[in-house]
Amino acid sequence: MENYLYTALFAPLASSLFVALFAARPKMLFTGIVASLLIAVSMICSFVLLVDVNTYGPLHVTMMDWIAAGNLEIPFGFVVDEVSVIMMVTVTLVSTIVHIYSIGYMDHDKSFNRFFSYLSAFVFSMMILVMSDNFVGLFIGWEGVGLCSWLLIGFWYHKHSASWAANEAFIMNRIADLGMLMGLFLIYWNVGSFQYDDVFAAAPELPVGIVVTIGIFLFIGAMGKSAQFPLHTWLADAMEGPTPVSALIHAATMVTAGVYLVIRAGELYSLIPHVGFAIASLGAFVAVFAASMALVNNDLKRIIAYSTLSQLGYMFVAAGLGAYWIALFHLMTHAFFKSLLFLGAGNVMHAMHDELNIKKMGGLYGSMKATAILMSVASVALAGIYPFAGFFSKDKILEVAFNEGAYGLWLALFIGAGLTAFYSFRLVMLVFFGEKEHVKYGIHPHDAQPFVIYALLPLGLLAIVAGFFEPTFEAFVTRLVSEYHIHIPHATEYLLIAATLGIALSGIGFAVYKYKRGGFSKSLEEKACYRLLSNQYYIPKLYERCIMQPFTVLSKFVWQKIDMKVVDFTVDIIAKCIYSSGQEARKIQSGNLSDMLRWMIVGMLVLLAFAIIYSAMM
């Protein structure tokens, strides 16, 4: 089975390196095909491993040593267990589809080859992230996906906004990574190892304070990667990247790494439930917070991005409250329908010649039926309507919140569900139905190439049926992570389900009703509340004003005023002082013989005078 493991891991790397050879050349179709094939190989191996793990249990290999210094030893070790194999399957599945999709999507791009190289590199990093058997290995993947995300967001580097967004994403992640590093150091100095097994075995023995600190630091890392408040702004800006990237990285896989981390470190977090609750609270807050921003946004991709944020919030609620398998389940289902949604959005963008404003679309159903259906399916799944995948996972999270007695969280999630349903269908309505606004701009949309649509079908299918695997999934995953039992009476449970379904349906209904009639009036956009939301609570502006600008000003100040005018100046002034004292001393050398003789005599006399004073004192 080790061969499957290594194949699953290194096929993407091979793909990336192979394609990279042609990166500087003009488009070559085979690069896309080879990359897709290799990723597909990786996917197949992942599925094989899934079956294998199911049958024979986890697989653990140590490839080689990496770092050894002092007491520290870090190997390149990989573990395929119930959690990581789920992640592997999800990642490779979505990746394969995105690769195939990209062959169509990036068809006209002159950097076609480069794109596949980056994309495969991302898959490799993600595989390392999920497969590592230690925290530092995870950190390699963690940073690796960050790098690929930077490369891919800034893929169209000639656009200022793209490269800006890439940098923003990288730097924001770095901030969180620092927190994570601190967590790693703390783990090391208390456990002496980074291996998951060792750490989890030792964790119960550690003082609670330390476990809490570790938990907080690790979660700071997770917050960055999963774009939780207050490090969330990069995700929306990351939509500058090509749409397949958004689908793969910024919806299905990378951003869920934070959730994966919390699930992975579940044994640690279960020791410190209050930290878990804090995580859950933050998650619930983000769930509503992000959804509210999605309500008014007009940018096709940003809406979906906010929705991703919101869904990540849901996952954190589950993970924070200890329902790890539910978090993982939602992670998986979300990956399916959200990437579908993004890929559909990509089709729309292509059709609209990269127009993103949904106010300028409308009535696209006529020209791109397949996409419209797929996106609608995804939206329904997102909204959590039975029997679509989202219903099963999301509903479970609400139940968990209720079960824990965290009614506040439940309420927040409940509202979030309604909002989700509304904005999803606002999008669907504005894009596919209603007035054909795009005609004004002279655009004649057409649907994507057939193979692109076919590529999406598996995702569509999974978005519909994935929910039904819930019991199997639970049984499988809880072999590793702790089980979670819900003690709500059945009646209440059904009531809750009904309520959730109800609010979701009413959200959909409201959206459909309202946008069938041309949407809200313009006057609403003038309201303070609307402006607040459409400006994302002014948070980006706040960062700009309070962090970036002061930092720039301060940096300039430090350089020009402190470094040049104080530190360097001091050095120069010392040198100048010595030099100018030389100019002064030079005056002694007047060249006049009388002066020279006087110096001699006066010097002697002064000493004589001192001598007399000194002897008198003695």
Binding site: R586, Q589, S590, G591, N592, L593, S594, L597, R598, I601
Partner: protein
């Protein structure tokens, strides 16, 4: 009775006169005179002390100083004449080519 102290005071006075002369004079010739006064002041002291101790070396020293003073004058005057021939002046202030 004129004792050692008186001679030594004389030495001191002459030496001071010499020093003042060295500091104040701007004529080279006068400057040389002043240095001669310095040496002769020392001579008086040596002879007096020598007599006081009844030791000959002081007087020997004095003789050597006289001899050295004489050769100094020879060299000094030679230089002075060279300078005078070249510059037509024996003023110290004409000796200021090199400075700084």
């Amino acid at each position: 009775m004129i004792g050692l102290t008186h001679y030594l005071v004389l030495t001191g006075i002459l030496f001071s006169i010499g020093l003042v002369g060295v500091m104040r004079r701007t004529n080279l010739l006068m400057l040389f005179f002043s240095t001669e006064i310095l040496l002769n002041a020392v001579n008086i002291g040596f002879v007096a002390v020598s007599k006081f101790y009844g030791d000959l070396s002081g007087q020997m020293f004095a003789f050597f100083i006289i001899a050295v003073a004489a050769s100094e004058v020879a060299v000094g005057l030679g230089l002075l004449i060279l300078w005078y021939k070249r510059n037509g002046s024996v003023d110290l202030n004409s000796l200021q080519m090199m400075r700084g």
